[in-house]
């Protein structure tokens, strides 16, 4: 009951947030990214965290949603919602093919095979003509079916809804037969099979569900940015970022992926931009000409990926169960 109250408060707060912060498209943009990463991490968590199948190729499903929506929109002027549905179809198709190949494998082989499948998808999109190839797809002058392009709220609420649905599914799944079956598969595939669990079937179900949710996020992202190319939506980096977000938050938990996104997305933004330095300078904490100031101004912009790498290493070494793992030592 207490959990339900917390959820309700969170959702209401999230709905009210854009109204509270007013006209700050920058902050809302960051929040959209945050909601997107939380959705992607939560969706990945279904197959990676609960079923224990560490897919390193989730960019393929994200790209499936993004590309299908954009291709249909640019070639046939298809309604984005129809495009999104078609994207789900394509993502399912890729998931079925991937599942039939990679689920026969375990451990490293599974991880590597999932990379290989995703790379084949990426290279195919890059080499084909109707996908825009290396040029990507840019949409500026198509009718947007009543969507106000200049407003960020539809995308904010769209992402929020996807996230709530994803978390809702995860919460339901956790306490359902399927959820228990997935966790049994994660803990021991042989034991799971001996208890009457059709391992391949349940793994594929988890992957399909995860792919569908990932692809929806991909569609919304594409409509939001209105420019996609393979390096933005199909890259291995994206797959890795999704996993990292989940692991840092807490893999196999309901709130871990959200927590990971809440920590990592603002962190990445603060490191990428000069936010930290700028704020400190203006507050008079650090002088712009001091060595620290110069580092914040010039060094950090060059070194933020390095900082990201260091955080990754430290997290894996000292927080292998994620931030949530810290609080759940006893359990």
């Amino acid at each position: 009951m207490k959990q339900l109250t917390i959820c309700a408060v969170l959702v209401i707060a999230a709905i009210a947030l854009p109204l509270l912060i007013g006209n700050n498209p920058y902050l809302i943009g960051i929040l959209i990214t945050l909601l997107m990463m939380a959705t992607l991490a939560s969706a990945w968590n279904i197959v990676g965290g609960y079923a224990g199948q560490f897919s390193f190729g989730h960019a393929a499903y994200f790209g499936a949603g993004a590309y299908t929506t954009m291709i249909l929109l640019s070639l046939f002027n298809t309604n984005p919602l129809v495009g999104m549905a078609a994207g789900i179809g394509v993502a399912c198709l890729i998931a079925l093919v991937t599942g039939s190949i990679v689920f026969r494998l375990r451990g490293h082989y599974f991880a590597l095979a999932s990379i290989a499948v995703a790379e084949i998808v990426r290279l195919t999109v890059l080499n084909l003509g109707f996908t825009g190839g290396a040029q990507g797809i840019l949409l500026t002058d198509v009718p947007f079916f009543g969507l106000d392009l200049n407003s960020k709220s539809p995308f904010y609420y769209g992402m929020l809804l996807t996230l709530v649905v994803t978390l809702g599914i995860t919460a339901y799944l956790r306490k359902s037969k399927t959820g228990y079956y997935l966790q049994a598969i994660r803990e021991d595939q042989d034991a799971a099979a001996s208890l009457g669990i059709n391992v391949a079937l349940y793994k594929n179900r988890a992957l399909l569900l995860s792919a569908v949710l990932t692809s929806i996020a991909g569609s919304i992202y594409a409509l939001y940015i209105r420019f996609i190319d393979t390096s933005a939506v199909l890259d291995l980096r994206l797959s890795i970022e999704i996993i990292l977000t989940t692991i840092i938050g807490g893999v196999g938990t309901l709130w871990g992926p959200l927590l990971g996104a809440v920590l990592l997305v603002p962190l990445a933004e603060v490191l990428r931009s000069n936010l930290l330095g700028d704020t400190l300078f203006r507050l008079g904490v650090v002088s712009e000409s001091s060595p620290v100031g110069i580092f914040l101004k010039d060094g950090l912009a060059h070194g933020h990926v390095l900082v990201y790498g260091i955080i990754t290493v430290l997290c894996i070494l000292y927080l292998p169960k994620g931030i949530l793992g810290l609080f759940r030592r006893g359990k």
């Binding site: 920058y26 943009g29 190839g133 940015i225 704020t279």
Partner: protein
């Protein structure tokens, strides 16, 4: 719980604007690819822009440049632009470098009404959508192939082979090259698109050699160009001319590899031997400061930043900056600059691209005639 709320509040504060500095300095944003795949070219832009800020400060301009990295990711570029215009309150933005990022940011510029000056992104579309607030200094991608083909047209080549990087720039440059080739009656004998960074192109080049083309049209960035030309020499690929579009064929590093780069023809936005005011001197100072030759990206960034600072200082707000950019004309290291609406473009500088040939280790401008001192050596020989 209290602590959590406090830390969330502290984080949120970062994203909100603080009261602006009292001092009367003009504030400009600069979005660039400092990290990521395009970091190498990004660095040239960083250097060029930094020199412009230095020069203008020395001239008495008071300017603050807010630098943003987009890592080549359009999502980050958009966040950067929105941060610059809403949080930092800049009156104009220079950048971004990559075409993808520039496209995304350009499509939002009219919404925020803050002028964007694109220094070096080549994608044609950026200035073809009629955006009022988007200005571009450099010539778009199609001009690369146009000038290259024009430079050799007089020698009546018959066949052409394309070897190019599988990137936006590579693909669109080759597309316009194909249009030009069609107009010139050239026959296409090979079309090879490659993934960047591979160590071995010998099989591809051997295949091209088998078609015995008159022209080999290449698009490569970075050091791929050196690799391709080395391996072309090994394989014995000897067309009548190598035409290089893309930054890889315009670097000092490439020219230094005399045994492979001699007589390669390339298109560039800028050289230091061109007779534009300050070009040679810029090159000299850049070399002294950074220990390497400036690339055309550096020159573009320098000039874009210089124009932005100069114009923005006179303008009070983004709207008058836009008017001033539209009305103004400049003549600096990039030659005459004027943002005009012409042949489908809006606010596009009609920048004359140059064709150069490496002759004995130095770039010599050979086309168009009014900027050139040397003649094209044709056919190519080892």
């Amino acid at each position: 719980m209290k602590k959590t709320l406090l830390s969330i509040a502290a984080t949120l504060i970062l994203f909100f604007p603080l009261s602006a500095n009292a001092a009367k300095t003009v504030k400009i944003g600069f979005i660039n690819s400092i990290t990521g795949k395009e970091a190498q070219i990004g660095e040239n832009l960083t250097n060029g822009a930094a020199m412009a800020v230095e020069d203008m400060t020395a001239k008495g301009y008071s300017v603050t440049v807010v630098k943003e990295d987009d890592g080549g990711d359009p999502k980050n570029a958009l966040a950067a632009y929105e941060k610059l215009v809403t949080r930092d309150g800049v009156i104009g933005v220079v950048g971004p470098y990559t075409s993808g990022s520039a496209n995304v940011v350009a499509s939002r510029a009219d919404q925020y009404n803050v002028p964007l000056l694109v220094p070096a992104a080549a994608k044609e579309e950026i200035t073809m959508k009629g955006y009022k607030n988007v200005f571009r200094l450099n010539a778009p991608a199609n001009v690369y192939s146009q000038v290259l083909m024009k430079a050799v047209a007089a020698y009546k080549p018959k066949t052409v082979a394309y070897v190019y990087a599988a990137t936006d720039f590579g693909v669109s440059t080759v597309k316009t090259a194909q249009d030009n080739a069609l107009a010139m009656g050239l026959k296409e004998v090979a079309n090879e698109k490659y993934q960047q960074g591979q160590p071995d192109y010998r099989a591809t080049l051997a295949k091209v050699k088998g078609t015995n083309p008159d022209l080999v049209f290449l698009v490569s960035y970075d050091a791929d160009a050196i690799l391709l030309m080395r391996q072309a020499k090994e394989i014995g690929l000897t067309p009548k001319a190598f035409l290089g579009a893309g930054a890889g064929y315009t670097t000092a590093q490439f020219a230094q590899q005399k045994d492979i780069s001699n007589l390669v023809v390339s298109a560039t936005q800028w050289t230091d031997d061109v007779n534009w005011p300050g070009a040679a001197e810029f090159s000299k100072r850049y070399k002294a400061k950074y220990g390497k030759e400036p690339s055309y990206h550096a020159a573009c960034a320098y000039e874009a930043m210089r124009i932005m600072i100069e114009t923005a200082t006179k303008a009070e707000n983004p709207a008058s900056l836009r008017t001033a950019l539209k009305a103004g004309s400049w003549n600096g290291i990039m030659g005459p600059v004027k943002f005009a609406d012409q042949s489908g473009y809006t606010n596009q500088n009609n920048h004359p691209m140059l064709v150069q040939q490496i002759q004995n280790g130095t770039y010599e401008t050979i086309y168009p005639a009014q900027f050139s001192k040397k003649q094209l050596v044709y056919p190519f020989r080892r």
